[in-house]
Every structure is written in C-alpha cells, then in structure tokens.
Symmetry: C2
Subunit: 329 residues, 2 copies
DNA sequence: GAAATGCCGTGAAACGTATCATGAAAACCA
DNA sequence: TGGTTTTCATGATACGTTTCACGGCATTTC
C-alpha cells in the first residue's frame, strides 16, 4: 500500500516464474513460447501484478505509439469534433493522442513540431494557420485543409463541391442574389476552394453574387460595414448568404439580427462545417456538413502508414445539412 | 535528409565537444558547469541539432511530465472547455496532457487507469461516471465533481451555492412557482448539491417548487411526460425552471418550444455550467457559469503537488450568467 | 540410426538518459 | 605556504525493455 512500492519488472517476473528474461518478453509480445513456459510466466505476471513499463519499451523500440494532433483549440466545436474522431481512430489502432493547442500562434506550432523530434510522438497531424510552416521530413506529417507540397499529405473534404452545393441550395431556396463572406486570406488553403466552388456554381446558374473576404488580422467589424452598406430601405441587397465557416456564420447572424434582418425570412444563410451544439441537436445555422469522421480516419490511417509519400491528398464527400434534416447530395 | 539519419545522442554531443557524457547532461539540466565547458557543449549541441530523447529521460527519472485527463468526450462544450483549460494549466508547468475519452463507459475508465500504471503518466485527473471506481493509491489522482473519499482530492465549484443562486434568480425574475430537472441519480455526486441548494433557497424564500430527477438509464422522454402532465389550458403549471446541466436545458427548451411554450416569456429557464456556443458568444440558455478556468487550475496544481493527501477538496465560487451579460454574485 | 532441420529457452547486449562516487584542480583560510 | 574546503569534470552504472546470436533438445528425413 505504500506509495513507493516500486513496480515489478520483467526481471522480477522471470525470477518468480523461474525462466529467463527473454522468455517473459516473448510471452508478453505474443511470440511463440512453449505452453508450460507460457503458463508459468502468465501466472507469475498475475501474482506480481506486473504491468509493462512504457518508457523502457519505447526506448528500446523507438516507437511511442503516440500521435500529436496540432489544432488551434478545442473551443470551436468543429475542432472539438475533429479531436474526438481522431482520438477514436487512433485508439482503434492502439495509439494514444497528444493534443497540442496552438491558439493560432505560429511560434507554438513550431514548438510543437520540435517536440515531436524528441521522440515523443511517432507522427503529427496538424491543422495549422501558418502557411510558411517548415514541415519536418524525418517524421510522418499529415495536414488537414492545408496544402503545403506534394510530399506532405493533405486531408480535406470536397471544399469546391461543398461551395457549389451551397450555391445550388440558395438557388433552390429561391434566392435571386447571393453573397459570400470569408475570413482568412491564404488563397492556397483548401477551404478557399469553397469560394471557388460557390462562384463557379453561381456563374453556371446565372445567380448574381458578391464576394467579401476579410484578411487575417482585419477587424471583424469590416463585415458589419459591408452588410450595412448593402442595406437600403431596411432591405438587404441580397437574399442569400454563404459563409465559409459556421463559427463566422453564427457571428454574422447575430449581426444581422442586430440590424433587424430576419434569418431565414429575409435572407437565407448557409455556413460550412456542420457544427451542432451538442451531439444530436438541431444546427444553429444551415450548413454544409464536413464528414469529420472520415477526415479523422483518413488522417490517422495516413499518418500511421509507412509509405507516406505515396499517399495522395484525400477527398471526402460533403453532405448538406439544413433546418430540420440532413440531405446527402 | 534521409528518413533514418538517426538522431544525435548525448554521447555524440560529448564526443563532438570533447567532454564527458556527464558534463553534457549537466549542461542540459542546468546544473553548474564551468563557462568554457558550457560553451563547448552548447556549440556542439547547436552544430549537431541535438534534441533530448524523452524515452531515455523518462526511463531514468521515472517522470513522464504527462498527466492523463479522463473525460467522457469533447463534444459536450463544457468538457471541451475543461480540456482546454486543463491543457493550458499543464503547459504552464511544462507538462503534457494525455486525453482519454470514456464515452461514459465504465470499463474504459478502468482501462485508462490501468494504463497509468504502465508509467505512461505521472498523475490522473478524472471526470468519471462510475461511482464504484477503485482509485489507485500509487498515483496522484484528482477527481472533478465526484467525491470518493477523503483521501481522493475532489475539485468542484460551489454547486450548492449555484443551485441557490438559480432559485434566487428565478424569484427575482418574478417567478411564483418553480421546478427542478436533473439527470443522473448518484446522490453523492457533487453536482447533486445543485438540487440541494436550489431546494434550500426555494424553501427559505417561500418559493414553491417541484423536483423531477431522471435516473441514469431512464428514457429521456420521461421529461416530456413530466412537462406535459403540468400543462393545463396551454399553460405550464410553473413559470421557472432550473435544470442541472446546460446540455439538458437545451434539450428541454427544444421540448418546450415543441409544445408551443415560449422561453423565456412563458417560463424562465436556467441551466448550469456556463456553456457558450463559441468563445465569446451569447449563451443559448440562462445559466450558472462554472469557473472552468479555476477548476482546471485547481486540478492541475493538486495533481502535481507532492503532498497530495494533505490537499482538501477545493471549492470555487460560481458566477451567474444571464441573457446578455454576466453577473457575479 | 545418424544427420539435418526446426523449435524455443537462454543470457547478454543495446536503446539514451540522469546520477553517483571518485578524484583533481582551484579557491580559501590561517 | 600548507592544509582544508569547495567546485566541478569524469566515467561507470542503472533504469526496463526488446532483440539477437547461441545452443540444447526434439522431431523429422532418408
């Protein structure tokens, strides 16, 4: 019961069982061992309550069975869902997850990547906001929604298709004039394809549209100016709004309601990500749902695969989610 | 550039610097070292790009600088916030966090605790749902909101006070009849004190109240029956509702709206936890905010403290949060 | 029935680090 | 200056595991 009853080691088990150290190891690792010997060892393990020591194993094998997930935070529900599903996917493969919150801080992203080099993790899954990140080449690295180079696997859903989906949906809802809002300037980002897809579909359908994008660092209030400048006679100049992120959509809806513009009566609003407040609840905004679970699964299977460089960027299908129900396209 | 350029070790640094192995170690660990020697070592480290190997260090010291946080999931925003703040508190102390999702599964809770014994973590912070959990006595263990015994530190906010706060608030809002809803039967739970505090304050103020508690496993629809049975002439029999959790409150509000009962016009609803949809957004329900950050800080400082057994259960002050603004009581 | 083959138990050797006892040099004191 | 203390570099050791070469034993093969 003492706190420092130092835990039994494999040597203790070997002594207790009257076998060699190597035999104990073979039993533990499921290597072929004679039945009698196996029994002796297993009983000794049970008697002593032996548990393997992870540090020793890791030191010897060089494998930590741990993957780092670098993500801004867990407050944004979309990130929270990613964390959740990545963890599940890792656990399925007997791996642990080391969570690294960057808080959108570039320096911290770099720190975490350094950390990986201390043999703390076997690989890294990263959702970063630094387009100039230097990706280490000596450790498996997978990005979510950020394309760096052909040699760095990038997992993303069909952002272009999702954007087009949003446009078609607005049209189907009877909108005659649309607008697109997005924060973040990095045009090589995968998510920027949502805009491209939206524009492409609008053009194709002959739906007029406007685009308003905020650079990183620009004040959020710019959006308010944009919206206000489009109001005449208490009416918004457009009746359909596609917003790059549910997070942003929620903010915008607040803004609109503050201007006495009703959603969805006066303007249809569609977000992106598929965030729901809790597990099985109605969405706060109409949204294009990202297949979070598939994204997580793809990240994990890629980061754990040996032939990393051969894995192409993955593409998942987006799903539309609207007031009250889910529709797959 | 090759993937297997095995990383430089302390021995390599020592050779490069022309000093002894122990000297390198002393430099790295900030022990007193002669200036000339220190310089030589530091330069060698830089030249070789040396990074310490965590497994070796852990094996030697027995310290992993990692704390496990056992929590049902990260989907519930309250949990997500806990994860976030615990991680921040750990990082402040140069510790890592190992996240363990139980999904409310008792077996998995036990598994994770076993894992800790493999020297994977230095301590455990747990938010469990198994009242019969056996707490290991050979590893620092801190619980959130669950009291097991005097020897297991339990961090909880002032649940009794929070419950009383909710009652007073309903009264202040002009309610003349109240009800309390809660899921989960474990009466020794710290959160059950919310009910006690509520009842106590109602009694004190002469505010009539009803209590409806769902046992674990009972169908959620029981709540619907309860609510329906309190409706006469399209009017609810009470005009104030205190609900043990924001999660539940949100569900109940959905239910109420489905019955054409308006919130807050027909009935005032107050939840508990202080969940907000995103970082700085309006709450979905009125709620008693838990001081998540302080709770996290208390957990971490307790689990990392040596004189664990001497630490009493901590208590934090609750804060009231209502439509549009925050009020401290 | 002897040689060849396969099976599997053995003990030693690493993995990379922190620490400890040792001893030498430097600093201090009288 | 001689003795005593302090400072600090050294090299060996141990942490707990996996793996590897070795060899003993049993089973097969012609």
């Amino acid at each position: 019961m003492s706190k420092q009853k130092n835990a039994p080691t494999m040597a203790d088990v070997a002594r207790e069982a009257g076998v060699a150290l190597g035999t104990v190891s073979r039993v533990i690792n499921g290597k072929p061992v004679g039945k009698a010997f196996r029994n002796k060892v297993e009983q000794a393990i049970r008697r002593l309550g032996y548990q393997y020591n992870n540090s020793g194993r890791t030191l010897r094998t060089g494998k930590t069975n741990t993957i780092a997930f670098i993500v801004p935070n867990t407050i944004n529900p979309y990130f929270a869902h990613l964390v959740h599903h990545i963890n599940i996917a890792l656990e399925k493969r007997d791996c642990k997850m080391l969570l690294c919150f960057t808080e959108y801080d570039t320096d911290r992203e770099a720190e975490f990547i350094q950390m990986a080099r201390q043999k703390l993790v076997d690989g890294i899954i990263a959702l970063t906001y630094n387009p100039d990140l230097t990706i280490p080449d000596n450790i498996p690295f997978v990005t979510i929604d950020r394309f760096f180079s052909a040699s760095v696997p990038c997992v993303a859903s069909d952002n272009f298709g999702g954007g087009a989906m949003a446009a078609r949906r607005l049209k189907a809802l009877g909108c005659t004039s649309a607008a697109f809002l997005r924060i973040g300037s990095t045009l090589t980002n995968e998510p920027s394809k949502r805009r491209e897809g939206f524009i492409s579909a609008c053009t194709e359908m002959g739906l007029p549209y406007e685009v308003m994008a905020l650079e990183d660092g620009q004040p959020f209030s710019e959006f308010e100016h944009f919206l206000r400048s489009h109001i005449t006679d208490h009416r918004l100049a457009f009746d359909g709004l596609f917003i790059g992120t549910d997070y942003l959509a929620w903010e915008i809806i607040k803004l609109l309601r503050g201007m006495n513009i009703r959603v969805p009566e006066d303007v249809q609003v569609i977000g992106f990500d598929g965030i729901r407040m809790f597990g099985d609840q109605e969405p706060v905004v109409s949204t294009i749902v990202q297949p979070v679970q598939e994204i997580a699964e793809a990240c994990v299977s890629t980061v754990l695969s040996d032939r990393l460089s051969a894995v192409p960027s993955l593409t998942c299908l987006a799903v539309r989610y609207l007031y009250g129900g889910t529709t797959k396209e």
